[in-house]
Symmetry: C2
Subunit: 233 residues, 2 copies
């Protein structure tokens, strides 16, 4: 297993970076907006497709700082999917998470895909509407740490400039989620191919398994049994 | 295939009743509340589990009367799942649909299960809050046809007295949906068993298929191949 260690790459985490991905997908989202509906369904679809997916527990977002467990999970994820929703930017934990995701993107070539869930990408990019209000609120509370807020702003702009998916409540959520999962499957297969070339030894990334029906399985078994019994006479 | 014909059982439909179910599940719901989110996900999960599921098109709920296509679909469904949401009762099409569903329950032993999606079953049962307001509105508009409104009220009460599922936005939607689909699977298996006893010839209902992974399938095939090759020596 190829492994690259970059200790101290994150000022807020004591963990080390490594390419031995533990998760296929890390989900970044605002719990109060989407945990029990959209993101829950997205998580379920990813898991059903065979992706090892990290979804945080509410308990990991308490206290002043984002937890080291959460930072480590981001570092151990091949892909981060960031679900921007109405109140994403009002959470400093979400914004810190986003900064760390971009750190991993730059340092570990982690793939990052934004999902704009009922928000306009341009409002995220330019911090307008709920995103604008949230950042102004943060600025008023963090007057001694304006660098931090500036970093949040820059990272939101970078994230909104990436390719992703946009949902504006005018279609079926389940079809939108299916599209995301299909696109991620393609990306993972592509990147696995690249990784195999780059790290030819000990790749431990598991391909998502495609489920088949028992009927198809039995059919295949009978075909084999028939071939074998024919050849033995 | 056993088939029972009850022509004229519905005054608003020219179709005939039959036990040759075309659909496993008919979904009754208020489009503007749940079509693109909750019901969409429920539909997708049912289909993925192998259930032939009827979900209406918005176009079927135009005009004065509920369309004959919709009535026929109800009659051809083994199970009706009625998703009560905030604005369900303000739609006369939904209420007419519900009355027809109960007609099929009584005449064809169709199974009916209510889902209370962010509404209290007792508000449906006693027509309070949004359900109360909707029925009062209908009464003010249908002064010459109070029998119709009374039938709607009685049917709402009957529906809310049935066993079903209740979701009050304090848990994961996807887990709630999984529970519904699992329970329906059990009900369908049970009723299929009963049907087999009752109608021993020509049952065309398809059992939902349980998907397995290719890995498991290959394992089974190798086991068979190994057994057969061992026995041929």
């Amino acid at each position: 297993m190829d492994s690259t260690t970059n200790e101290g790459a994150s000022s807020s985490s004591s963990s080390s970076y490594t390419h031995s991905w533990t998760y296929d997908v890390f989900l970044s989202f605002r719990g109060e907006d989407t945990r029990y509906n959209f993101v829950g369904h997205l998580y379920n679809n990813l898991v059903q497709k065979g992706f090892k997916t990290f979804i945080d527990d509410e308990a990991l977002k308490r206290g002043e700082e984002i937890s080291s467990a959460l930072l480590k999970a981001i570092e151990q994820s091949r892909i981060s999917v960031v679900v921007f929703s109405e109140n994403y930017a009002s959470s400093r934990w979400c914004l810190d998470e986003l900064v760390h995701i971009f750190h991993c993107k730059e340092q570990l070539q982690q793939m990052v895909f934004p999902v704009f869930y009922k928000v306009d990408p341009s409002d995220v990019r330019n911090q307008r509407k709920s995103f604008g209000k949230a950042l102004v609120d943060h600025e008023s509370k963090l007057k001694d740490n304006m660098d931090k807020v500036l970093r949040w702003r820059e990272t939101l702009t970078k994230a909104a400039n990436l390719s992703g998916w946009s949902f504006l409540a005018d279609g079926h959520e389940y079809k939108f989620i299916q599209k995301i999962v299909e696109d991620i499957s393609v990306q993972v297969l592509d990147s696995t191919y690249l990784d195999v070339a780059k790290y030819p030894v000990g790749i431990d990334f598991e391909q998502p398994e495609t489920p088949i029906s028992w009927k198809t399985c039995l059919q295949k078994m009978f075909e084999i049994a028939f071939c074998m019994s024919s050849s033995s006479y």
